[in-house]
Symmetry: C2
Subunit: 693 residues, 2 copies
C-alpha cells in the first residue's frame, strides 16, 4: 500500500495567509480521504490513486488559471474557493452530507455568485443584523430507549425538552394533549399526539410515533432530535447508531466516490476554464476508520514532524477486528513520483518495520502520515490498556483535569468583543460507568440486539453563516481582537481513553480542533480535548457503551440542517460544515485550542467558570463553557447575569419564551445543546430546581 504525502510548504502557507485552505483528495487503497475546506479558498491536491494519471503531461505547479487548458490537464494543484456549503440529507436514509460549492480561483468570484452585490463587510453586518434578533433554537436530542422503540407505547419526552420545544399544554385538563406536527429534513410532516399523562405525569408522544419509528426504521440506540425553529415550526431529525458504529449500510452513500472522483475533476477543470461553480458532495463518514478528515495545517504539522529516522507506531485492523500495533522507523521522505509528476508536492514516507513479519501483504514500505504515529513524543497514556471502557468514576476528574480550565491558558483573559449570533456546542463524555448503572443482565433487550462497540471519541465543529472574510476569520482566532465568527456549533463525544493533547500555534487553533475515528481514539493516537467554552456533557453509562452515544456531530448537523430546511431559498448566506481531525502527530501536554463566539449583539455579559469538578457522586454533570450545568448551581441560581460566569463569552437574550435558566443535559441520552444557552442566561421562573441527584 504505497501512500503518498503532500508536504505543504511556503506556497500554501502564503495561500493560507490569504485565506486559502486546501482540499485534499487522497485516494489510498484503503479508501478515500478528503479534508473539507473552510469557507474561502481551497487548494485541491491530486495525489496518487484514481486521479493521479489524469495529469497527463502535467508538471509545473501553480499557474494556468483561465487559459484554454485541455480539460483534465490540470496542474497538480488548483486553488479553488468554496463559495457555498449546504448541509443536506439523503432522501431515503436521512444520511447527512455537505454539498460544497466550489469555483476555481482566478479572481474572486464570490460576489458574482452571491449576486447580492453588497459590500462584503456590509453583508456580514446585514446578516448579523437580520439574524441577531433571531433566537437560539429550542431543541433536544434523545437517544431512543428500548421503551421508546417498543411496540407498546410511545416516546417518552424528557420534561424539560417538552416544555422547551413543544407548545404548552393546558395542564388543567385531566389528560392534556395536543397534536404535534414536525417536519423532517425532507420537509415531510410527521404527526404525533403529545399527551401529558401517567402517574407520575410525564410527556409522551403516542399516536404517530410508532409509524415514525417504523418508517425511519429506528431502533433503540438511534437518536431523534426535535427543534423548534424561529417560526415556531417543529423540526425533526434522526441519527442512526449504525452511522456511528461503522455499519455502512446507511452511512455509505452510493455516489460518494463518484462525486469526489472524476466527476469532480472534470468539473474542476471546467471551472478552471469557465469560472463556473461546481459541487462536491461530501459525506462525513464518522465511522470509517480509513477515512480521515483534517485541515491542511494538520497535514503540515504532520509532515513537519516526520522525517528520516522518526520512530512511529501504526495500528492495523485485522480480519478478526482486533487491533494490532506495529512499530518502525522512517527511512526517508521522498518525492512521490518525480518522473511522472514533477510538480507534485506529495511525498512518500518510506519506512522500515521493526517486526519483519509485519511487512507482509498488508503492509509495505510506504505509509501515509495519517496512518503512523510518531512515538518519540508519545508517553504514558498511550501505553494504557485499550480495554478501559469501564472505568470507575475516579478516572473522570483526572481526565477532565487534562482539559484546560478557563484561566489556565493564556488566551482566556483577552478582551474579545464577541458578537456571536449563535453558539451551539455540545460535548459528551461517554463510557463512564456510574454507580447506579445496572448490570448487563438488566440491559434493555433492544439494546442487546445491536452489538455494542467501543465508544467513539469524536469531535466536530460546524460553523455557518455568513461568509466570513478570511482575514476576519483569522483575526478572530487571534487574541485580543474583535471577533466576527458568527456561529459555531460544536459537539464532542469523548471516550474515556487517555488524551493526547494538541499543542499548536494559536493562529491555527481552529484547524486543529479535530475529529478522529474510533480506531485511532482507542489506540490512543490522539485526543481532542474540549476547547474553552465548550458545552460539556457527561452521560452515565447504562453499561452498554453504544446506547450512550447521543449527540455530537450528527446532532449538530441536524440542528443546523433542521434549521435550514425551510430557509434554504431565502438564505443568501453560505453554510459551512466540516468535521475536523484532531492530530495525534503532535502530542503535547496542554490543550490550546480556543474559540471565540458571538452570541447576539446587544448586551454582553462575561461568563466565567472556575472549572470545578464535573462529576459528583457518579451522576452526570454538564458544563457549558466550563460551567457546570447540572448539580448545584454555584451562585445566583436563576438570577440573570449573576449565577454563572465564563470568561470571554457574551450572550444576549433570546426572543423565545423564557424558560428556566439552567441548561440541561439529561443523564440518559437526552441532550440539549445550544438551545439551552439562551435559557442559561435568562431570568428564570424557576420551574426547575437544581438537580437533586
Amino acid at each position: 500500500m504505497a501512500i503518498d504525502l503532500n508536504t505543504i510548504e511556503d506556497e500554501e502557507e502564503e495561500a493560507v495567509m490569504q485565506g486559502s485552505v486546501c482540499l485534499e483528495l487522497w485516494h489510498a487503497c484503503a479508501g478515500m480521504r478528503i479534508s473539507l475546506p473552510r469557507l474561502g479558498s481551497l487548494v485541491v491536491y491530486l495525489p496518487q490513486g484514481h486521479l493521479e494519471h489524469l495529469f497527463v503531461g502535467g508538471g509545473g505547479g501553480g499557474g494556468g488559471g483561465g487559459d484554454a487548458l485541455p480539460v483534465f490537464d490540470l496542474p497538480p494543484h488548483v486553488i479553488c474557493r468554496v463559495v457555498d456549503v449546504q448541509l443536506r440529507a439523503e432522501a431515503v436514509t436521512d444520511v447527512l452530507y455537505a454539498q460544497i460549492t466550489v469555483v476555481a480561483e482566478g479572481e474572486w468570484v464570490g460576489r458574482q455568485i452571491r449576486e447580492d452585490g453588497g459590500e462584503k463587510e456590509d453583508e456580514e453586518m446585514d446578516y448579523m443584523d437580520s439574524k441577531s434578533n433571531s433566537s437560539v433554537p429550542h431543541m433536544f436530542c434523545k437517544t431512543l430507549t428500548a421503551s421508546d422503540t417498543s411496540t407498546h407505547g410511545g416516546f417518552s419526552v424528557p420534561r424539560r425538552a417538552a416544555e422547551d420545544c413543544f407548545p404548552p399544554l393546558d395542564y388543567k385538563q385531566q389528560r392534556p394533549s395536543q397534536e404535534l406536527v414536525a417536519k423532517d429534513l425532507h420537509g415531510v410532516e410527521w404527526h404525533f399526539k403529545h399527551i401529558y399523562r401517567g402517574q407520575p405525569r410525564r410527556h409522551l408522544l403516542t399516536t404517530g410515533w410508532s409509524a415514525f419509528i417504523n418508517k425511519k426504521k429506528l431502533v433503540s440506540g438511534d437518536a431523534v432530535l426535535f427543534l423548534r425553529g424561529d417560526d415556531g415550526e417543529l423540526r425533526l431529525g434522526i441519527r442512526r447508531a449504525s452511522q456511528i458504529k461503522g455499519n455502512n449500510s446507511h452511512s455509505m452513500p452510493p455516489n460518494e466516490s463518484l462525486n469526489v472522483g472524476v466527476g469532480m475533476l472534470k468539473s474542476l477543470a471546467n471551472s478552471v476554464a469557465t469560472k463556473k461553480i461546481f459541487h462536491i458532495n461530501y459525506y462525513p463518514r464518522v465511522n470509517q476508520s480509513e477515512f480521515i478528515v483534517s485541515y491542511w495545517k494538520f497535514t503540515k504539522s504532520c509532515s513537519y514532524s516526520i522525517s528520516a529516522g522518526t520512530r512511529f507506531k501504526m495500528c492495523f485492523e485485522s480480519e478478526d477486528a482486533a487491533e494490532r500495533r506495529y512499530t518502525g522507523w522512517v527511512t526517508s521522505v521522498c518525492d512521490f513520483d518525480p518522473g511522472r509528476w514533477p510538480g507534485s508536492k506529495w511525498r512518500s514516507i518510506v519506512v522500515r518495520w521493526d517486526d519483519e513479519n509485519c511487512g507482509n501483504n498488508s503492509r509495505h514500505s510506504r505509509v501515509s502520515p495519517w496512518e503512523i504515529e510518531p512515538t518519540r513524543c508519545l508517553s504514558g497514556p498511550h501505553s494504557l490498556p485499550i480495554s478501559s471502557s469501564k472505568r470507575s468514576r475516579v478516572m473522570i476528574p483526572s481526565t477532565i483535569a487534562d482539559y484546560p480550565h478557563p484561566g489556565e491558558t493564556g488566551y482566556q483573559n483577552s478582551a474579545e468583543s464577541v458578537k456571536s449570533s449563535r453558539v451551539l456546542q455540545g460535548q459528551e463524555i461517554l463510557g463512564f460507568k456510574a454507580p447506579f448503572t445496572r448490570g448487563d443482565a438488566t440491559l434493555p433487550r433492544f439494546s442487546e440486539t445491536r452489538s455494542a462497540r467501543f465508544p467513539e471519541k469524536r469531535c466536530i465543529a460546524i460553523a455557518r453563516h455568513p461568509p466570513v472574510s478570511t482575514d476576519a476569520f483569522y483575526k478572530g482566532l487571534d487574541l485580543g481582537e474583535s471577533v466576527r465568527f458568527h456561529q459555531v456549533l460544536q459537539g464532542q463525544e469523548m471516550a474515556p481513553v487517555p488524551s493526547t493533547i494538541l499543542q499548536l500555534p494559536v493562529k491555527n487553533q481552529l484547524e486543529n480542533v479535530g475529529f478522529k475515528t474510533l480506531k485511532s481514539c482507542i489506540a490512543g493516537c490522539s485526543s481532542a480535548a474540549p476547547p474553552q467554552g465548550y458545552y460539556t456533557f457527561m452521560q452515565p453509562s447504562s453499561s452498554s457503551s453504544l446506547a450512550q452515544i447521543s449527540s455530537s456531530p450528527s446532532v449538530l448537523m441536524f440542528q443546523h440542517l433542521l434549521h435550514e430546511t425551510n430557509e434554504r431559498e431565502k438564505s443568501d448566506g453560505i453554510n459551512f460544515f466540516y468535521p475536523l481531525c484532531s492530530s495525534g502527530q503532535q502530542p503535547a501536554s496542554t490543550y490550546s485550542v480556543k474559540k471565540h463566539f458571538e452570541f447576539g449583539t446587544s448586551s454582553t455579559q462575561p461568563i466565567e467558570t472556575n472549572g470545578q469538578s464535573m462529576i459528583r457522586d457518579g451522576y452526570s454533570d454538564c458544563r457549558l463553557f466550563g460551567f457546570p450545568l447540572t448539580g448545584k448551581i454555584p451562585a445566583g441560581n436563576g438570577v440573570p447575569g449573576s449565577f454563572c460566569k465564563a470568561p470571554s463569552l457574551t450572550v444576549t437574550g433570546s426572543l423565545w419564551p423564557q424558560i428556566p435558566a439552567k441548561a440541561v443535559a439529561h443523564g440518559h441520552g437526552c441532550t440539549r445543546v445550544g438551545a439551552s444557552l439562551a435559557h442559561l442566561f435568562q431570568e428564570s421562573t424557576s420551574l426547575i430546581q437544581p438537580a437533586s441527584l
Copy 2:
C-alpha cells in the same frame, strides 16, 4: 444535445471476423448507452461525454497493448476480450445485473483465466457431457394478483404449475399440505406451507407467503418465479413491475454509472498494461427509453444507412409522457472532433428538422443514429396509429404471418447436428384483447394502484455455458454446419404493433436479434420477430396492459440465474448474458434470424410444425418452435416423437418426472416457459387435458 456516432469500418469488420465484438460507451446527455459484448473480444469505444477528455493527446488507434502507457492514456479504442459474464442479483433489491469480466486484448488469455488447462474443445465436450443428462427445469412465473398480495390469505398457485414444480401431495388426505423450501437468488431459504384446499380445491401457499411478500416488498403486478432445479431444489425469483415501468427506484442501481465510468477506464488501462482482468457490472435497464442496447452490427448497419440527405423521423418523450414524432433530413455526417480526437471513428450526424419549432431547447442539429429512424425504407406499418394496443384477435394471425414459419426460409433444411444441452425460450405477445376479457370496471383494485403503461415489446437472449470459440460460434450461425451453440435462453414479449423485419446477412443474425425499449417499439421503429425455434406464447389481455407482462427478459434471467445460484462454485464455464437490440434501421420484409439449439445429447427427434394459427376463439395460444402449445394438439397428443414436428430441432427426454405433454401458458399472468419443453416432448400420463376453454 450533440451526440456523436462511431462508424465502424474495416478494422472492426476484421475484428468481428476474428470474433471481436465491441462494447460501446456512450455518454449522451440523456443517459448512458452501452452494448454488451458477446463472449469473445470486444472493442471499447470512448465517445464524447465524461470520458472524452481522458484522451489527452490520444489519437492513433489500435496498438499499444503491453507497453508502459500512462494509465488512462488510452487509444480511442481498445480491443478487449470478454472472458466471463455472470448473472448476479443485488442483495437488497434482487435487481439482476451481469458482471462482465474483461481483459484487454493482446494475446488470448482465456485459458489462463479459466485455469482448467484442458483443451478447449475437450472442455466443451466435457461440459456437454456433464450437462446433457440434466433436464429442462420445471418452472413457472406468475404475476401477482391483488389476492396474492392481500393480507388475507396466501398465494394461489396455478394448478399445473404446482403439479409441475412442487413435490406431489397426498391427495387422499382431507387437506393435503407440505412445507416447501425455496431459495432465492441469494441463497436465502423461504419456507411456505403448500396446501391443497378450498372448494373447489386449489393449490395455495399460505404460511410464510406473507412474510415473503413483505420482505421483498412485492405488490400486485410484480411477478414471482418458481423453478425446480435439477437437484429437485426449489428456487424462487421475483421481478418487480417497477423495473419494467421505468420507475427507477428499483431498477437504477446506484453504482451503475460508476462501474461504467472512470472506474472501468482505469481498470481497462490497467488491463492494457498488466493483462489483468477487470469487471464491468452491467444493469440491463429494460425500462428506460434512453437506454439502448445493441450490437455493433446494429451500429454498423445504422451508420451505413445514414448519409447526407437521409430522411428520418425521431420520437421524443415529452414531459407529459406523450410521444411526439418529428421528421427531418440528414445534412451531413462528419467527424466528431477532428482537432481534439483525430483518431476517433465517431461521427456526428448533423440534421435539419422539418418542423422549425422542434429545434428548440430539447433538440439540436446533431443527433444520434440511435435516436433517429430513416424513413425512406419505412412503409405501411409505421404509419399505423400508435394506439393500437387493443386489437381484435384478427390482427394476430396476420402479425404472426410475418414471422418466418419453419420451412419458409432457406435455412431450416440444413442438416445441423444440433447438440444443445439446454434450450429455454419464451415469448409473449401481449396486449391482445381476447373476447372474454373483462372490462376495465372489473379490474383488480391493486392493479389500479399502478399506472398502466403501454405494453412493451422486448426481446432478450441469454446464452451461457460453455465458452464457445468465436469461430465455432459463427460457424454455428452458418447453415449446414454442426452447431456447438449449447444453451440459448430466449424470450420475447411482443406488443401488437406492426413489425419492422430485419434483413441482415446470415452471418450476423444473432447480433441483430434485438431488444428495444417501449419507446421505439410503440413508435413502430422496429420489431424483433421470433426466430425459428422460439417458444412463442400469447397471453390474452385482461385489459390492463401492465398486468400482462409476466415473463420474458426477467423471467429468463431468473430462470438462468436461479439455476446457477448454487452451482456457481462448481461451474468452471462462462456465463453469458446480453439483452439484444432489434434494429429499426434496416427494415425489410423477411426475418432471417435463425437459431440452432442443442437440447440434450441422446436421441434426436426432429420436430416440425406447420405454423398453423396460434389463436383460436380468442383464447391464448402458445407456440414452441412454431408449434402451438395450447389448444388442440395437432397430432399424437402426448405421444413422444410424433405429435409435433419442427425442422432442425432436436430434443431429448429429460430425467424429470413425466408430466403431461402440453406446455401451458395460463391466460392470467402465469407463464411457463422453457420448463414446459421437456413435457411437451414427453410421454404423458395425461393428468392434464387439453384446454377446454
